[in-house]
Amino acid sequence: MKKSGSWNPARVFDALGRIGYNPVSALLDMCDNSVSADATKVRISINLAPKPSNGSGKTKAIIDSFQVADNGKGMDEEGLHNALTFGSSESFYTEGTLSKFGLGLKSAASSLGRKLEIISRGNDGITRIATLDRDQLMQDYEYELREANDGEKSLLDQHAGSAGHTGTIIQISKIRLESMPSPTEIKNRLNARAGVIFFFHLHKNDTDGKQALQIFVDDEPVKPIDPLFRAEISKDDDELDEASWDGLSVKWILKPQSIQLDNEGSISGTVSVVQLPHPPSVANSGSMTQAACREKYMIGAGNYGVYIYRNGRLISWADNLDGMINQDQDLYSFRGSLELKSDSDDILNLDVTKSRIHLSEIAKSQLTAKISEAKKNSIKAWDAAKTCLNRKLGEEPRDTINEQIDSVRKIIENDEKLDEKVAPPEEKKKLEKRRIQAIETTPATPEEESKLRERAERVQYVDSLPDNQLWQRALAADGSLIVRVNRSHRMIRDVVDVLHSNKQLVMTLDLFMFSLASAEYKLVYNGSYEERIIEKIMESFRGQVGDELSNVLRKMDLPVITGS
């Protein structure tokens, strides 16, 4: 035997208001309906009323109602009925809609207040008003529907743009004041969030070149804000060079790339990552203060991560992608975006507030490597910007150790020259030949020579060395020794770079690298073996060390490598 269940509409209405909305997310969820209804203008208003003095003699402004009004396509009687149905019909949702479960309007409204009124005029030209009052809900779920009066029609005309134009006003009253932030707080947060959340809609132009959507918060237009600041990326020099970034401009870490989201390979998303400016470097350049830079680029604890968009609407602000993006101040400039379509809703388990997703296994597997590499590069770039700034301020540890090595080395090299000068003719000839041979075999590039002259750089980090070698020695034309270190080698990327903040360690490792090169040079210059053979053995040895180190590090579970 089947029996009908029962439900208490008033309690369900209250419960829906507690599924995770705050006033700003609730109001912006209502904006979604306006965008889905092809509105070009949406106005959010916070209407205030004086709260009588409570013996203190001061009147306080409290929120009387919230209003979201638009000039979209409006609703006829059936549309209004659907809007007020719990779990409204999917047939009302068009492709690209920002709606999902048919609960958004009711639950968002319930989180704000106990009375929801909808004034709407659809294509049939009749203006109707539907009222759902939680205090009137008894055993049955009922709302009131009637034709609007002249005052209500004229109010809608103001928002619809002209008399008789379609449009909708959503009004919530009987506000739940017990947990409501102040009106100013709500307004400020709306202004800060709406421009980011609706960036793609606000940024788009219609066929006449006009802004396709305008949103106003209490008459103040909302400006589109791309949290990745992609428009600022220079077209000529757009990719981040994490080793030498000066921290002054926005760069691509990962240009837009597709990833697969489902097991059939038919649903995809697009991921991209940028590096935002480094505030201390920007401040040092004089273009703006650190605070202004942080404010402009929203650089701060709650803002780094991945911004997830669904059908062009932000659904998750600075998401950590199921823990892929850890808490780290050196990631403040890391900002990514993941753009999805509503075809991925079920795969990614989109929740009712449309603010949380759970990545599928395939999405995780394709994103993990990209995000992990992007994070590494972001941290490295942040460090490079700090180094660049420290250098300007004379506080860079690598400069310190280079200067010290250089001063010691100059004495050694001078002494070698003196020894060579006073050596018996035969030995002198041999040493001279071996020195010239060494310089010719491993010459420094002009760029390396100038770094040596100008900054006494004896230890020079280079993008790559052949065959995974970790270091390689080079000699300037005058015989000054330098060592090149392969910054692409796993040892540098995964171990040394992670420990960059330890200045003593950085200096010790640089000294160690230089010592390896200096020992090699000694063997070649005044060793007793044939120099060509030594060179061959040394080259093979360097390759072997690089290979071994890389293999061992790959197999080890060092905390510095795993980040644990």
């Binding site: 697969q260 390979g265 597997s365 790559s464 692409s488 690089g546 290979d547 071994e548 890389s550």
Partner: protein, 165 residues
Amino acid sequence: MARTSYATISRSDIAERHAFLYCIHALVPTDIKSTSKAIYIGQTRNRFGAIGRLTQHLSNDDTCNTFKQRVRAIFNIGEKLTDISFIACPLSPLKSFLVDSPDYREAVEALVQDKVIQSIVKQNLKVVVVSRISYNSYTRERFIQEEADAISRDILTWIHNIGSN
């Protein structure tokens, strides 16, 4: 006949110890009626060549059958894979690709996987890439990029051919 497997191998050097970038294509049964197409991209310098590595992937040895493990993780089902196809592309005979540490081979592998995914998504080929990659700085080297370009072209042509057969 249903239990019989067929294999056609175009060149015997697939069994030689050389550096290879390879791709496995298989049908994965997702329920009684339907299947998904999965591909796995990898690199190897196996003692028995690319075919030796394929053997490991299809074996029941969980220390090396990564393809089967990835299928299990993603599709949450057993490993009854059918219609398995395999392509092995030898890497250029450079010392960098032949050394023990796989850094250079992995750099090519990462770029190839990226290119293959971009192309699959763009052309809506309905094939899912289940392999995982790790990036390193050698992906910026020109010779790595050129190697990846050439190999991804071969792999994509091969995927198209499988789709049209």
